[in-house]
């Protein structure tokens, strides 16, 4: 059983990645390449999610969004910041309202505050990372200068959005 952070709580992950043991209608996450190659994933009953690489142009996902309940954004290393832009764009420009999950070797406790501010409401830590420490790290800062995702409660914030 995999545990993740969702909405700031530690929960069991009901989603399954392609290749993991899978019930017929279990919530399923496929890669973007799989999703595009195989129409059957879209036709399958049950909830569907997609895992996108840092190179994916999220604007090109617009047509798929109504079918998707989850987007897992891949962070291959802590230093690769492309996923932060993907997250914000999915929330702000594509108006994606499903679960936005950060996943990959780059997802560590020292990244989770920024991730949550970019609209990620689910954090799947890299293997071996301390989930409880990551949960606490969501509250490392009580203030911020920039506007950010509504899910992060701040005591003070400087520049409002338009």
């Amino acid at each position: 059983m995999r545990f993740i952070l969702r909405q700031r709580e530690i929960v069991a992950d009901e989603w399954t990645y392609l290749g993991e043991v899978l019930a017929a209608d279990a919530p399923l996450i496929v890669s973007l390449a799989e999703l595009r190659a195989e129409p059957r994933w879209r036709a399958r009953p049950g909830r569907l999610g997609v895992r996108i690489p840092p190179t994916a142009r999220v604007e090109e996902l617009l047509e798929e969004l109504p079918r998707l309940e989850l987007i897992a954004v891949e962070f291959p290393s802590p230093g690769d910041g492309r996923g932060y832009s993907q997250g914000r764009l999915l929330r702000e420009r594509c108006r994606f309202r499903g679960e936005l999950r950060a996943v990959g070797a780059g997802v560590k406790q020292d990244q989770v505050f920024l991730l949550s501010r970019c609209g990620f409401d689910a954090i799947e830590l890299a293997p071996g990372e301390d989930l409880e420490a990551a949960r606490r790290a969501l509250s490392r800062y009580s203030v911020a200068y920039q506007p950010g995702a509504a899910g992060v409660a701040l005591a003070a914030q400087r520049f409002p959005t338009t």
């Binding site: 802590p78 230093g79 832009s85 490392r140 911020a144 200068y145 920039q146 409002p160 959005t161």
Partner: protein, 551 residues
């Protein structure tokens, strides 16, 4: 100057707590070096040749006396009693220990300072003209906008893990004293016909391995759009910039590969598409920031004949180390950190304390760090100058050489930096010894020497009238010399004159180059003007005429 409010203070204190925990985890073996590294870099901490190096942020180079005293105190207690001021207006300590750094940062936070984002692949300290607010030619004071950009860039949720470091400079005067054209983003303040303030925006300038002058992508950006437009540039860069090769990861490479026009189109499209979600700069917020940088409560004073009847040495100091002020009866005073026999940009704790006291006495308690690695007391009444000169002399801070050949810029080089190929500080001493005759220096006039110990160009050698670059040849230090660079108003990149020369030949080669200038100059020409007029030919010939060992 800017004063922290509760938000700023809470932020730096939470940042210290975060770094204390990260350092603890690292020292306990829970956080391996490769994961700790990007975190410590974003708090200014390098692991260097001899010890860690801590780079403390001095936003746009502005310090209060209390802050300078704290820096002196930290340098004395946690280091060896001195610090090094950099071309990007920061302060580097070379000998702190890793375990002490959280305490140092906590002490900095008590005087509204930090070391956040002075390193790492993120937006770095925003720099500005050291004469901001007092220059007679100024369009508008850049510092309120620098502070706005500093805050916007601080722990930006989207742009903290960029492909590479990112430097922004803002200039408020037609004469660009902030080298904005060689920054990742250079903002140049302008006023339109109605007096409204806006920015010209340049992107993709930089030094390093492949020096390039930034491309003008917008002639006029309204002030209210500043943060939205910066976000658009950063977003295009964050998504499209190369991450596969550290040497091709700066935004200048992206601008070049797309072409300035396509890059501009991408930014404009992103800007228009993202406008609903960018941080907004309200007029009230701009006014709040501007209020921190109002002119000082100057007295109504007339200009004095300051040097009449005074010592020749004082007159020389006045001429070289002070600058006009927009208020009559005042001057801006350089505190020279270029005394011969010292390392360029270094100040001892005792000197820092003396300067802090002098600033309180004669310059409204404020000190500025200049791009040229000196300090500046910006608002000194002319009647105070003679006494101030005596005090600065007493502390070894009145070397009357500002703007001359020995006011040279140098990175710390091999003595401290793990990247360097060459002992720049030793070469600086050679040059100081060779050009120790002030009358000769004055005859040579304005010459800017800029020296870097490696290709990373921290000493900005590409934009020196004379550039010196340390290179490694089979384990030996050699130096490549270039001519014709400039970062002031008319930005130009220097051209290498020929083969590099061994360490012991550098000062002699420079001596031959300046002799060519003395021979060929016309009455009013500065060194750089002669180089531009006659080209490199005569200089090249003279440089290599006498030392066949160059290779």
């Amino acid at each position: 100057m800017y004063r922290y409010d509760q938000l700023d203070q809470a932020f730096v204190e939470e940042r210290v707590a975060e770094f204390r925990d990260q350092t603890r985890r690292h020292l306990a073996g829970e956080l391996p070096e490769e994961e700790f590294r990007p975190l410590r870099l974003r708090n200014g901490l390098y692991l260097q040749r001899h010890a860690p190096m801590l780079r403390i942020a001095i936003p746009y180079g502005l310090l209060s006396s209390a802050q300078l005293r704290k820096l002196a105190d930290i340098a004395r207690r946690y280091d060896r009693g001195f610090g090094h001021f950099t071309t990007r207006q920061n302060l580097q300590l070379n000998w702190p220990t890793l375990a002490d750094v959280p305490d140092i940062l906590a002490e900095l936070a008590t005087v509204q300072m930090h070391a956040i984002q002075t390193s790492g692949n993120c937006v770095r300290n925003v720099t500005a003209d050291h004469l901001a607010g007092i220059a007679p030619d100024e369009v508008d004071d850049p510092r309120p906008y620098c502070e706005i950009v500093r805050q916007w860039a601080t722990l930006h949720p989207e742009f903290t893990y960029l492909p590479r470091k990112f430097k922004i400079a803002i200039s408020g005067s037609p004469e660009d004293r902030a080298a904005t054209e060689v920054h990742d983003i250079g903002l140049h303040l302008r006023r339109d016909a109605t007096g409204t303030v806006g920015f010209a925006v340049r992107v993709g300038g930089g030094l390093g391995r492949a020096p390039v002058i930034g491309s003008l992508i917008r002639e006029w950006l309204p002030l209210a759009e500043l943060l939205g437009y910066l976000e658009a540039i950063l977003r295009v860069y964050n998504r499209e910039g190369r991450r596969d090769n550290i040497h091709k990861a700066r935004i200048k490479v992206l601008v070049r590969s797309l072409g300035a026009e396509r890059f501009r189109e991408a930014v404009e499209a992103e800007w228009l598409a993202g406008r609903a979600h960018v941080p907004r700069l309200t007029p009230a917020e701009v006014e709040r920031m501007r209020a921190f940088f109002r002119p000082q409560p100057y007295e109504a004073l007339a200009d004095l004949d300051v040097t009449a009847g005074r010592e020749a040495r004082f007159a020389a100091w006045y001429r070289y180390n002070t600058r006009p002020h927009r208020m009559s009866g005042y001057r801006a005073v350089f505190v020279s950190l270029k005394a011969h026999g010292t390392n360029p940009g270094d100040a001892t704790s005792a000197q820092m304390e003396a300067i802090a006291a002098l600033a309180e006495r004669v310059s409204f308690g404020l000190v500025r760090v200049t791009h040229s690695q000196n300090l500046l007391l910006a608002d000194v009444a002319q009647r105070e100058l003679h006494a101030l000169w005596h005090e600065l002399e007493r502390h070894g801070l009145a070397m009357p050489n500002i703007g001359t050949l020995t006011d040279l810029i140098a990175c710390p080089g091999l003595d401290f930096c793990s990247l360097a190929n060459a002992g720049t500080l030793g070469v600086a001493r050679d040059i100081q010894r060779r050009f120790d005759d002030l009358d000769y220096l004055y005859d040579l006039g304005n010459i800017e020497i800029k020296m870097s110990g490696c290709m990373n160009a921290c000493g900005h050698h590409h934009v020196g009238h004379i550039g010196i670059l340390g290179v490694d040849k089979h384990g030996e230090e050699w130096y490549q010399i270039s001519l014709g660079g400039s970062a002031n108003g008319f930005t130009a990149l220097a051209e290498v004159i020929g083969p590099s020369v061994p360490r012991h030949e550098v000062a002699a080669t420079i001596a031959r180059l300046v002799e060519v200038y003395r021979r060929l100059r016309t009455e009013e020409e500065r060194f750089i003007d002669t180089v531009r007029r006659v080209g490199l030919g005569p200089f090249r010939e003279a440089a290599y005429a006498l030392h066949p060992q160059a290779a």
